[in-house]
């Protein structure tokens, strides 16, 4: 069995408990750096070597992000964990919080130590409220055991973590909207610059990382950046949890090394459901462009290979579709999601997502017009790259890619006012 960085506790009884975690070497990384007073630069260097890239979707190198933080800035600084897992298809962070909360706590405390932060926040998506409660329990356990709060592990250093739960808005997963939401304001992305590293939570320097990213930190500190890198492939260090959903026999979370061929992952998930064949895959959550089966079957799962193939590894949400899927209907559902979840702040996204949805809806319902596909490409082009945050681009990704790869199905729909598949 291959190494697991985040979901290894599932191989033990009581995976979420402090006992299980500590019995298997948990919190030893934290104890070590506190005892040795490891300089922050050293930790950041290891994270850089590890080639850990942001697991929330953008894939930004974590070590580089950490180096932006003005650690010597006087006054408060914060570490924020983004567990606002709202991307359709993604369900990995909830498993980390549910089955291995202490590794996330350890990762956040190490991040707090490294970045000179005063406190950490974990923003938990509103639709997984039970996790908010179990997370609070884990924090209490960690505090009682001296891994969190005042005088951590007897080091004299204080750092605490607060839980914050959202109310289910997708946009609050955007890091600056998330900050606004923690501050009690309407969750709307901020214009950047300034970036959170200089003006973040409550206007203080802040580093925001995804749950899986922070949960990987203790492993890196314990085993060294080089070993983490070697788990994956160059520039794509470590393992990655893939949330496989759709038309497979065994949907679920699979933690595999980055660079694993897609075909292998598909096999782990039990293959395409019986009697059907693979048609298309959205490899990185709903905002990643869709890829047809033939391209996908040749792909390995890492940031660079998927980008080369014309999509994004994103959050690692692999949505598998077999030949029974009507691509028009699938796109209608995706377009509706972005239309409903646009925050409404900036013009192209507020107006454009609704426009795109209505046109796709029209096509799906037999009222499409020949010029609609060009219109969709053009409207998408007017949104893409012109908005405050990436939601605009995310909304356009599916529209453009569905039309690019499955144009014939759309044309058939417009012409025949019915589906090409399923008849």
């Amino acid at each position: 069995m291959s190494t697991k960085v985040c979901l290894w506790t599932l191989d033990h009884p009581n995976p979420a408990s402090l006992e299980t975690y500590v019995a298997n070497g948990g919190y030893s990384a934290l104890k070590k750096i506190l005892a040795e007073k490891t300089p922050a630069e050293q930790i950041i260097e290891q994270v850089k070597i590890s080639a850990l890239r942001g697991r929330g979707g953008a894939g930004f190198p974590t070590g580089l992000k950490w180096s932006f933080m003005p650690r010597s800035f006087p006054g408060d600084k914060y570490v924020v964990c983004n567990t606002d897992e709202g991307e359709p298809g993604t369900f990995k962070d909830r498993d980390i919080v549910q089955f291995n909360p202490h590794q996330l706590i350890e990762g956040m405390v190490i991040a707090g130590y490294t970045l000179g932060a005063r406190a950490g926040y974990n923003y938990i998506h509103g639709e997984i409220f039970e996790l908010y409660q179990s997370w609070e329990q884990a924090l209490d356990e960690a505090r009682a055991a001296g891994y969190l709060g005042k005088n951590i592990c007897g080091s004299g250093w204080d750092f605490d973590i607060h839980a914050h739960h959202g109310y289910g808005a997708y946009i609050c997963g955007e890091e600056t909207a998330l900050l606004e939401s923690i501050e009690g304001k309407k969750g709307q992305p901020r214009f950047k610059p300034p970036f959170p590293a200089s003006f973040g939570l409550y206007g203080k320097p802040t580093t925001i990382n995804n749950t899986e990213t922070l949960a990987s930190i203790p492993w890196i500190v314990k085993h060294g950046g080089q070993r983490f890198l070697e788990l994956g492939k160059p520039n794509n260090g470590g393992t990655k949890i893939f949330s496989v959903s759709g038309h497979v026999n065994q949907p679920g979370n699979y933690e595999v090394p980055l660079g694993t061929p897609f075909a292998e992952l598909l096999e782990m998930a039990g293959g395409v459901r019986d009697g059907h064949r693979l048609k298309a895959v959205i490899p990185g959550g709903s905002s990643a462009p869709v890829l047809p089966a033939e391209i996908m079957m040749d792909c390995t799962l890492d940031f660079d290979a998927i980008a080369k193939a014309g999509s994004m590894l994103g959050s690692g949400a692999v949505i598998v579709m077999d030949e029974t899927v009507c691509m028009v209907q699938a796109l209608e559902r995706l377009a509706y999601f972005y239309f409903e979840e646009s925050c409404g702040q900036c013009t192209p996204c507020r107006e454009g997502t609704g426009w795109m949805y209505r046109v796709v809806h029209r096509i799906e319902h037999g009222q499409g017009r020949p010029e609609d596909l060009d219109l969709l490409m053009s409207v998408g082009g007017n949104i893409s790259g012109r908005t405050i945050c990436a939601l605009g681009d995310a909304a356009v990704g599916p529209v453009h890619s569905f039309i690019k790869h499955f144009r014939k199905e759309f044309e058939y729909h417009i012409e025949n006012k019915r589906c090409m598949v399923g008849d």
Binding site: F191, P193, C343, Q345, C346, T347, P348, R350, W355, N382
Partner: protein, 779 residues
Amino acid sequence: MPHIEIDGSEIEVAPGATLMDAAAQAGIYIPHFCYHKKLSIAASCRMCLVEVEKAPKPLPACATPVTDGMKVWTRSERAVEAQKGVMEFLLINHPLDCPICDQGGECQLQDLAVGYGASNSRYAEPKRVVREKELGPLISTDMTRCIHCSRCVRFGQEIAGMMELGMPGRGEHTEVMPWLEHQVTSELSGNVIDLCPVGALTSKPFRYKARGWELSRRRTVSPHDGLGANMLVHVKDGRVYRAVPQDNEAVNECWLADRDRYSYEALYSEDRLTRPMVRDGDRWVEVDWGKALAQVAGALKMLRDTHGGDAIGVLASPHQTVEELHLLQKLARGLGSDNIDHRLNHSDFAADAGRAGAAWLGLPVAELSNLDRVLLVGATVRKDQPLAAQRLRQAVKAGAQLSIIHAADDDLLCKVAHKLVVKPSALVQALAQVARALQEAGLDVGAVAASIGGVAVTDAARAIAGSLRGGARKALLLGSLAQQHPRAAELHQLAWAIGQASGARVGFLSPAANSVGAQVLGVQPAGGGRNAGRMLAEPRKAYVLMGVEPELDAYDARQALEALRGAEFVVALTAFKGAAPDYAHVLLPIAPYTETAGSYVNMEGRLQAFHGAVKPLGETRPAWKVLRVLGNLLELPGFEFDSAEAVRAEALPEGEATVRARLDNAVEGVALAHPAPVEGLDRVGETPIYQLDPLVRRAPALQKTADAAAPEVWAHGELIARLGLEEGGQVRVTQGEGAAVLRLRRDDRLPVDAVRVAAGHPLTAGLGARLGTLSLERL
């Protein structure tokens, strides 16, 4: 200093500037909606996208800081393509109902759509419809037209100081709305109309009255508070249809208070006096000017000849122009009377003997925004000078410490560092504590030193003194309540001492448009004459009134009315009838500010002249002309003027320089008695914001606002309990022989032994002194 190239021309810009700033500097217009120079950057409309070298995407000019060597194209193919794309998005859900939209012809969206919009829409779906919102009597909504620029929301938070509008909802469901069941109540609310780039927020009184292109714009100056906001009145067919701000960074910036914006409606009030009238027994008859003026001249001459000039009292409003006030004081003195005053609502004139010049702000208006220490004494500044309050709010936001000594802890919508809230009769004592605290700290408080030795200093006073000792740019400002106070002279003397000791400049927040002008021009006794208080307490045989309604304006309204009713002859030069038929013998219709040329001197001593915007209504005449003819009829020398400018040249030979030479807030020789505060309940009797002068009293839309609600009796909960009264019930308020029955309301921001009952309102005109004592009883 970074150098950048913008549309091919190279310029040097200030560090930290945005591309929008740089473009403005280069004279290049970048289309925009959400950007506004006075508001925070939202960067949300995306209309100002421009092309920047090496940037993969177009960038919003409003939010992109310049960097050295940047190359920017605002009209390149890529930039214009992005701008056109945004314009298309803005228009897909916009109703395009320009023909029935009040904003038509002066709409930023309409204008830019001409440049960036297509002639046909590619959007074939049904458009969004948004439910209307009720924002109150001043602002009309058509929320379907909203383009979500959020300027109105940011204005509330950042300028008005209260977030009355918000943007709940997400995506297409985002709507601008007030709090549930609330309207907009800010005294600056009308500015959102100017800020709204489309027809979503428009002026309710102006709705469907005229088109922008039918209106001519005339520059004028607001006749209300002492700020002297610059504005444009919009005129069609000889009638004023609305008022909008005229930018002046030194005065009102780009804002107007609602009072300035909506008072124009009163110009066409049914109460306007449009023909001269004389009393004939119990009847009033309209007469021609010749007859009316002859009667006035005859009566004044006769009374002067039989009783001497001292028998004549002259009361003028500080909302009248420089020219009018100058001729009036000239007329009074020509008649041998030094009984002239504009301070009807004052009660203590003792400082007159010890002052060197006219009371003014003590600093330029613009510096209010940059102070770092402020002490407000007896100032209800949000209601009295709303735009000055706005400037102080900006100063506090930038880090200033603002402290108050007042008879009410009203919400200033900004952080207050320290406060001493006491009943009016304890104000002198409170201010003395601050002086004493400075003295204790080793500072020289000058002549008051001897009289404050025994003052016990509270922690709050010590904190205020401590605050004033710090900072570089600091001011102590006396508000209306301090100026009207029965011991105003002592307050002034103590303020001056505190200013001298701490280095704070001492100033007065002028209540009226020409308060400073009236003093500079000598519209108050200069040679032993009677001031306003004495003129009314010691009734005269004749009164000449100009622009005043003493039954509302006077410190003791009841006493004023008695004096006027007992006089042998009263002539009222007025734009409105009001209650004047009750006590006057001749009514002369004079022009309000829009119908005459004139000038005002604002609180900082700025002389601001204006022309008449429209012709006088009916037989109305500019007051300077009326006074000129009256001077001729009375055979007084020096009344041969042909224009308002000629009058001004005589009144202020060096113009503003003459004004400045006469400004001085120094005072000396006022004895400090500091007796114990008066026993019993003090009245806090201020003029409500929309009762300031005859114009606002008659402005229908303003009179429908919450601020214009009928006066009620406001008292601390503890006092209500102590007196066994019932909140919400009717109570009888008694002041000497005067009484009124009003509803009792609770306000725990008042001192326990003070009761707030507004003055300057018909319902409370029967009461006595504004800051006197009163009693309450259950009805």
